[in-house]
């Protein structure tokens, strides 16, 4: 196991915690947990590109970053008005 894979494994419990926090609580608290899950996933995908030496995985992280803006803004509008 290399350094990158060890870091990925160490990031899995915070991702699980973010998922659990998004499952319960008030809408604002769940919204923050959803964003934490997105941030941790971006980190994991970036590290995975180094751990597996597959440069194409970086494109997955880049795609997630690019989709994060419209997705979160849409969810914020829903939270503001309807949820």
């Amino acid at each position: 196991m290399n350094l990158w894979m060890a870091a990925i494994l160490a990031l899995l419990p915070p991702l699980a915690l973010a998922t659990a926090l998004a499952w319960r609580g008030r809408p604002g608290q769940r919204f923050a947990a959803y964003q934490l899950a997105g941030s941790v996933t971006v980190l994991i995908l970036t590290l995975l590109a180094f751990a597996t030496d597959q440069a194409s995985i970086t494109d997955l992280a880049l795609t997630l970053v690019l989709l994060n803006l419209p997705g979160t803004m849409l969810l914020a509008v829903f939270l503001e008005r309807w949820i």
Partner: protein
Amino acid sequence: MSVVIGLFLGVAVAVTWLAALALWRLPRALDRLHALSFLNVAASVSVTVAAFLSDGISGRSLKILLMMSVYLAWAALLSHVSGRAVLMREGRSA
């Protein structure tokens, strides 16, 4: 060199754990968003530095630099959007 890379990866992991625990323990949604912003800044810088230490200047490390720069800019925007939405939804008690 791998010790330095491990140090930066360790910082990224520690910051992520800290932010996750803060989101668990802090009662207000706005406080949680502050912890999230700390994670976005500290972890993305650490991972980018680790990538450059590992690869030098390469296509992959430059792509990660671009990605993290975009991510940081958008994270700042999304923090304000999220904070505004939470304030309008839950009021001053958020």
